[in-house]
């Protein structure tokens, strides 16, 4: 029996990525990183800023996301996100831009705890990409 399942990443503009030979996906869920294998129980969760790792036969891929929702059902993994970047396409300047934005956001004083936490997360993740 194959150990592969289908993953689909959708952003508001288009269907970002569809892959059906995925063996494992690691997503940065809100309460910690979560690895999803085939026949995982149906689950809905949302994402915090982090890296999505997609492991498949045709090669591994890494994506940076800032937010999103994951839904896993019948061996179909759907990831809805409004901001996603392929790490392979991300160069230094792009990363610096995002980092600057995130830092500005984190330094704002008039935001609530949750957005502060998310902004801090962004900064942290972006820094580790260096």
């Amino acid at each position: 029996m194959s150990e592969e399942f289908k993953v689909e990443i959708v952003n508001p503009e288009k269907s970002f990525l569809v892959k059906d030979d995925v063996s494992e996906v690691v997503v940065p869920a809100f309460e910690g990183e979560m690895g999803i294998l085939k026949d995982h129980i149906s689950i809905i969760s949302f994402l915090k800023p982090g890296i999505i790792k997609i492991l498949s036969k045709s090669g591994d891929e890494n994506y940076y996301v800032e937010d999103g929702i994951v839904e896993f059902k019948n061996n179909n993994l759907s990831i809805l996100t409004s901001t996603i970047f392929n790490l392979a396409d991300m160069d230094k300047s792009k990363q610096q831009d995002l980092l600057k934005q995130a830092e500005e956001e984190a330094n704002k004083t008039d935001i609530n705890d949750q957005s502060k936490y998310l902004a801090d997360q962004k900064v942290e993740v972006l820094k580790t990409l260096n």
């Binding site: 508001p12 269907s15 869920a29 809905i44 969760s45 929702i69 059902k73 809805l80």
Partner: protein, 290 residues
């Protein structure tokens, strides 16, 4: 009867108008294709989002304490209407159709003695509404600089709506836009986004989900995003509709201009012929009298 010179000038002017409308039609056709594509590409996102929310709201155990964005504030006193129109004219009945739909809704609300607040997106809608409902318009947004509908803009509108909701400025929010059916048909829509109206829709699966963290927390995180998504969907539909509407309007205009040119040309030829005949008669009768 107009002189030959006048007719000539009119023909020239109608012809140049025809050239403009023809060019606009071509541009609209090219843009329409792109807008239609992005409207279609954007659909999976909002559909999936809807699906997830549906599953979530079915799974929620404590209906009383459900997030307010889902269940409403418990009253319906103040209505917020987001009217989405285009920034440019010359697109047939596109804007007027939305405005008509919106106005009949406004009249109903005012009749019922409820309070009305309006946000206009796109300058054309603002122009048409400010005459009658000027004092009700609380916000006017325009995305003239952005070439295509993008999520970033939609998110701005969405965040504003949510901010106002959390500040208790309104109870019910409805968005008005044109749904793109095909090039000749666009259907003006009124869609209620707060509180979310899911009644009548059945969840696609009976399967129960595992939630992490719990339903309430996911929902309260997801619902604001859904607002932006719905607004973005409306924007995409709207931009496809606008181009479609403009294309058919300009197609009609081009055809009408063509007809007008034909008519004027006939008139021009007739009067030219009449003038020649008249001159001939004069010459002949002059010669005969000699």
């Amino acid at each position: 009867m107009a002189s030959l010179d006048d007719l000539k000038k009119r023909i020239a002017s109608v012809k140049s108008t025809q050239k403009i409308t023809k060019a606009m039609k071509m541009v609209a056709a090219a843009k329409l294709r792109r807008a239609q594509e992005s409207a279609e590409k954007g659909r999976p996102y909002s559909e999936k989002m809807n699906n997830v929310i549906l599953n979530l709201s079915n799974g929620i155990s404590d209906k009383e304490n459900a997030p307010k964005l889902l269940s409403g504030t418990g009253q319906e006193k103040t209505h917020l209407c987001v009217v989405m129109t285009s920034d440019r004219g010359l697109c047939g009945g596109f804007n007027s159709n939305i405005i008509k739909k919106a106005k009949s809704y406004f009249a109903k609300i005012v009749d019922e003695g409820k309070e009305l607040k309006i946000i206009t997106v796109g300058s054309k809608g603002n122009d048409q509404l400010k005459r009658v409902y000027g004092d009700k318009i609380i916000e006017n947004i325009s995305f003239k600089e952005s070439k295509n509908a993008n999520y970033f803009d939609a998110d701005k509108v969405g965040k504003m709506v949510i901010e106002k909701f959390e500040a208790g400025e309104f109870d019910v929010c409805t968005i008005f836009y044109n749904q793109f059916k095909n090039v000749i048909t666009q259907i003006p829509q009124a869609q209620q986004i707060i509180p979310l109206n899911n009644e009548g829709e059945e969840s696609s699966s009976e399967e129960s989900y595992e939630f992490e963290p719990d339903e309430d927390e996911i929902l309260s995180n997801l619902l604001p995003k859904n607002i932006s998504t719905q607004i973005f969907k409306a924007m995409l539909e709207n931009s496809a509709s606008e181009q479609g509407s403009r294309m058919s309007a300009m197609d009609n205009a081009t055809r009408n201009a063509g007809e007008m040119v034909d008519k004027l040309t006939i008139e021009y030829n007739r009067s030219r012929q009449a003038a020649i005949t008249k001159e001939l008669i004069e010459i002949i009768s002059g010669a005969e009298s000699l």
